[in-house]
């Protein structure tokens, strides 16, 4: 997806305050926001608080179980959104089959739990070691499949690659439907509820951290250059195949992680859960939050998931209201909430310094 160059750089310092300069109240809010963002040490502090809460909330039932469930869905959806954003936002491809990777992870995880591993392993303290391995296995399986989808991306781009990923999603669904040994169209019921809030928190933070570090690495810069101009990135010595392969593998790995967590939270999976509609949900979260933005992915996943629940009393009408909201969002903020911009908390220190110190020597110190 090509995007028009614009003035609102992720590095520009007065983005918010400049825009709201007219209103004194908003200006004060903006200043407070800026001051907040400047305090980078707050991020690790918030992480520790979040980790503590993830243990405390279920332990002392600080919120009811329904809200706890939604919070865990938010976490899983953040993992899914951020991994899809790597392909659709940062690399500028258009993958529409993300639920396919999720299905692979979910089924591998669910099968390990229900059919392969002895039940004794899932009891007592042993589960603390076994469950992460189950989730990792789901991620690894999805990553392998991601490798297969990356290969057509060497030859085709844009709409055509979208068709490939669409086909992939359909293939995964019908393959699962036709293998009786893994439940066929009936799916797998009675999966142990191993996904707990601390685990969701852990995997979500891990996904955000890994993908953020990837994006600001040399490889990540290669991913960005692919979005901007593939031929030019070839001419800049970027090994485009290697970069595409790595991006697809990383993206599908985390989709698989999300799938395995999802299976052990819902406790029941079937091929129908992972159809195109599910992929569309993740697409909406990516474009709602904004392409090419980690902060945007977190926001998009959170807002969409929570809104769908809040609007539940409207019943069928929420599927009228939500798309309408999206239409208006695209009219007034065509790049999503955070399109191509970033919360400064997610930008590494080294990147922020470059803009301030103009010396050549510092510029080179990556």
């Amino acid at each position: 997806m090509t995007t028009q160059p614009s003035n609102d750089s992720s590095k520009s310092k007065l983005s918010w305050s400049a825009r709201f300069a007219q209103s004194p109240l908003l200006l004060r809010i903006a200043q407070a926001w800026e001051a907040l963002l400047a305090r980078r040490w707050l991020l690790p502090v918030l992480l520790v608080i979040g980790l503590a809460l993830s243990f405390l909330i279920p332990q002392f039932r600080l919120v009811n179980e329904y809200v706890q469930l939604i919070m865990m869905y938010v976490g899983i959806n953040i993992i899914m959104t951020i991994s899809l954003n790597l392909i659709n936002g940062y690399m500028g491809e258009f993958s529409v089959g993300h639920a396919g990777f999720m299905a692979v992870g979910a089924y591998i995880g669910a099968l390990l739990t229900t059919q392969v591993l002895p039940y004794a392993w899932l009891e007592g303290p042993l589960v603390m070691i076994v469950f992460p391995l189950i989730v990792l296995a789901g991620g690894a399986g999805a990553a392998l499949v991601g490798l297969l989808v990356a290969v057509p991306s060497f030859r085709t781009r844009g709409d055509y690659l979208a068709i490939v990923t669409l086909a992939f999603n359909m293939i995964v669904k019908s393959v699962i439907e036709n293998i009786e040994a893994i439940g066929g169209p009936r799916g797998i019921p009675g999966i142990d509820k191993l996904t707990t809030m601390p685990w969701v928190f852990f995997w979500t933070v891990l996904a955000v951290w890994v993908i953020r570090n990837f994006i600001y690495s040399n490889f990540g810069r290669g991913v960005l250059s692919l979005r901007e101009d593939e031929i030019a990135s070839d001419l800049m010595s970027v090994n485009t195949r290697q970069v595409k392969l790595l991006a697809f593998v990383l993206s599908s790995f985390f989709a698989g992680i999300g799938g395995a967590l999802f299976a052990h939270l819902l406790q029941f999976i079937s091929p129908r859960v992972f159809d195109i509609i599910k992929s569309t949900d993740f697409l909406i979260m990516v474009y709602l939050g904004g392409i090419g933005s980690i902060g945007g992915s977190v926001l998009g996943a959170t807002i969409y998931t929570v809104l769908l629940e809040v609007l539940r009393p409207l019943q069928v009408w929420r599927f009228v209201l939500m798309p309408l909201l999206l239409v208006f969002l695209m009219l007034y903020r065509p790049r999503g909430i955070m399109g191509l911009r970033e919360f400064r908390w997610f930008v590494p220190n080294s990147e922020l310094l470059v803009g301030k110190k103009k010396e050549v020597g510092n510029a080179a110190a990556d």
Partner: protein, 251 residues
């Protein structure tokens, strides 16, 4: 096969080995033959220009050299064939191209654009020197290093494109229509920079429609017409050649 045994069609008759030797290059897009078996040499330290009208096959030739399109015939660089060498490795061997239309990464900053050209390089110390060199040639880029490159003016973008090619520490630079879309005064600046880069030791292969400017800076030149080389000579010779004057310099 060594490069010394190659047939030489160069006007220079000494036994120097060409840095780049193109032999019977044929490139087609589907059924359309864009380049119909051309051969030419570029020697170290030269500025060689390919001039010709739209659709003559100039850009296609450069794309072939950079490994962006498949071709038959052969391209030799420092005595080694470039056939089947992937594009990113060709840059690593020392051939950098400034593509037509600049190929700037518009949503990335100037600095990120420059950084990308060092993607495969591991020599951090030398990279720092190269930033210094690029910023010395283009002080404007240093001022704007944290600006999104899509917001640069056309001239600045062209500077960035050339600066990027310099960052890959190329021995040879392929320039595709650097004057395109620029005001005459900027065109002159860009050509001055090309000459300066050449004086610092980079061999230049220049593709241009602006024949007048290109021939003035070139040591040697080839005229390309619908995929074949019709004329060759030094820049001065071709500037005076009546056929060139009529076709490209407006009589």
């Amino acid at each position: 096969m060594s490069a010394a045994s190659l047939p030489t069609s160069s006007p220079r008759s000494d036994d120097q080995i060409p840095l780049l030797a193109v032999r019977d290059l044929v490139i087609s897009y589907g059924n359309i033959l864009a380049v119909k078996g051309i051969s030419f040499d570029v020697y170290e330290g030269e500025i060689v220009t390919l001039i010709g009208a739209n659709g003559a096959g100039k850009s296609t030739t450069l794309r072939g050299i950079s490994g962006l399109v498949p071709y038959s015939g052969d391209i030799w660089y420092q005595g080694q064939s470039l056939r089947r060498v992937p594009a990113d490795q060709i840059v690593g061997r020392g051939i950098a191209q400034v593509p037509e239309g600049r190929g700037i990464f518009g949503n990335l900053t100037v600095l990120e654009n420059l950084k990308l050209a060092t993607w495969q390089r591991k020599d951090k110390g030398a990279i720092a020197d190269d930033y210094e060199r690029v910023f010395k040639i283009f002080p404007r880029l240093q001022e704007r290093q944290s600006q999104l490159s899509g917001t640069l003016s056309g001239g600045e973008q062209q500077m960035l494109a050339v600066g990027r090619a310099l960052m890959s520490r190329a021995k040879m630079m392929l320039l595709d229509e650097p004057s395109m879309g620029l005001a005459p005064v900027l065109v002159r600046d860009i050509f001055q920079v090309v000459q300066e880069i050449n004086r610092q030791g980079t061999t230049v292969l220049l593709v241009e429609q602006n024949a007048n400017m290109a021939l003035r800076v070139a040591s040697r030149a080839y005229v390309l017409e619908t995929g074949t080389i019709t004329l060759a000579g030094t820049g001065e010779e071709l500037l005076k050649d009546p056929r060139v004057r009529e076709a490209y310099l407006g009589g």
